[in-house]
Amino acid sequence: MLIVMCLAIPAKVISLKEDKAQVDFGEGVLREVNVTLVNAKVGDYVLVHAGYAIQVVDAKEALETIKLWNEILQVEPEANI
């Protein structure tokens, strides 16, 4: 895996034990991350940065964002070009 400072990648929480979780970055390989900073449940997607989960990805908000985009793209007139 790339060692990048600011980059944070979403991973799925597979199991939890105290402050550690096994997560899957979609590669099928499980990696251990520290979950002290978040309240994550098994099945959640967490954003992982330098071995730490820094936030739980809000699936509802993700869909909301996509919905909002679609609204902007469809509803607002494309004048002025």
Partner: protein
């Protein structure tokens, strides 16, 4: 994740770009600044600048933590490494030059310098070798600082200490907003820093500086929508703070992380490579954790270093005054294989990102 596919959809990108054209003023230039290396990567890698109107410029601000770490702080790590302390750092710190030497140079001289993926790995290493002294060079913005705080609160072993080089991003944005000759019109605020600090610290930009500010994610569509939202605000002449990255950024941010950072760190004035001293921009260990401060433990303190190597223009690149291609050394004397300045070393450095793309 399914969302990812959508967030990279090239057709959608074209449609957003079309939308951007509809809200762009016909006259004058709009200059938008982002402050995150990952944003620059997305913009360059996906060629997003080509999709924008000619009079909309997106520039890269000081969003690469490795690039802004001053030479003096690298010098301290080099000194410790040469003294026989095991120095651990993130991979892209290794080749960043100090005043005279990088950690890689120290390693070539026989020093024990090790790359770690995160601070937890560093602590584990120290636990395994109790007879050696270990120092972790803790570089990074608010995204990374909480992990340092957690490890300190977990009481690392006695043979472990930190060179804390964490920096705080909003004060650097303020500096940029106040640079009159830069004349910025809006900010794309850094998504991952914002997952930690939330939105509130950016309120000052629309309120005081009249600059539209949008927190955006890192997929191409995120960035394009960020640009669209800023242009729309400018068009309506209603600068405000908006959140495009609501899937991970909330108004209050990660309060647990903030609480732990407050316990461990206080904020002090700090030097930034290429930018100079910025008030209240650096984290320092609070007195109760002084035993983990490598400065005190190993008696090392470098006040000033040589931040900009001869001929290097990193100080102009990190505020977007010039593009990497405008530096005479770019891809000539300075390449990713033989970097001159820090901006060519880190994968988040603008020169390095542009080098990959050219």
């Amino acid at each position: 994740m399914i969302e990812k596919l959508r967030f990279r959809d090239p057709e959608l990108a074209k449609r957003v770009a079309k939308k951007i054209h509809t809200v762009t003023p016909k006259e004058g230039t709009v200059k938008i600044c982002h402050v995150c290396g990952t944003h620059e990567w997305t913009i360059t890698h996906f060629g997003l600048r080509n999709l924008l109107p000619l009079n909309v410029e997106v520039i890269a601000g000081p969003g690469c933590p490795v690039c802004v770490t001053p030479a003096s702080e690298i010098d301290e790590a080099v000194q410790l490494a040469l003294k026989g302390v095991v120095v651990m750092c993130f991979g892209d710190v290794l080749r960043v030059s100090g005043s005279e030497m990088s950690l890689l140079d120290a390693k070539a001289k026989g020093a024990d310098v090790r790359i770690v993926y995160g601070v937890s790995d560093a602590v584990k290493m120290a636990q395994k070798e109790p007879k050696k002294d270990f120092v972790f060079l803790a570089i990074g913005f608010e995204t990374t600082a909480p992990s340092t705080a957690v490890e300190i609160l977990n009481k690392p072993p006695n043979n472990f200490s930190f060179l804390v080089s964490h920096r705080v991003i909003p004060p650097a944005m303020k500096l940029l907003a106040e640079m009159e000759d830069l004349s910025l019109n809006g900010f794309i605020a850094p998504g991952h820093v914002s997952t930690i600090i939330g939105l509130e610290p950016y309120e000052v930009f629309p309120k005081v500086y009249g600059m539209p500010t949008v927190v955006a994610g890192f997929e191409p569509i995120d960035v394009l929508f960020g640009v669209y939202m800023i242009l729309k605000q400018l068009r309506e002449n209603k600068p405000r703070l908006e959140n495009e990255y609501a899937r991970v950024v909330s108004w209050e941010g990660n309060m647990k992380a903030q609480e732990l950072m407050q316990k461990v760190f206080s904020v002090a004035d700090g030097n930034w490579r290429g930018l100079g001293n910025i008030p209240s921009s650096k984290f320092m260990l609070n007195r109760e954790y002084a035993s983990y401060d490598a400065h005190l433990k190993h008696d090392v303190n470098v006040e000033h270093g040589i931040d900009i190597q001869h001929g290097c223009k990193c100080h102009l690149v990190i505020i977007g005054k010039i593009k990497p291609t405008e530096c005479p050394l770019f891809m000539k004397a300075c390449t990713p294989q033989k970097p001159v300045g820090a901006c060519m070393v880190s994968i988040e450095g603008t020169c390095r990102i542009w080098a990959k793309a050219t």
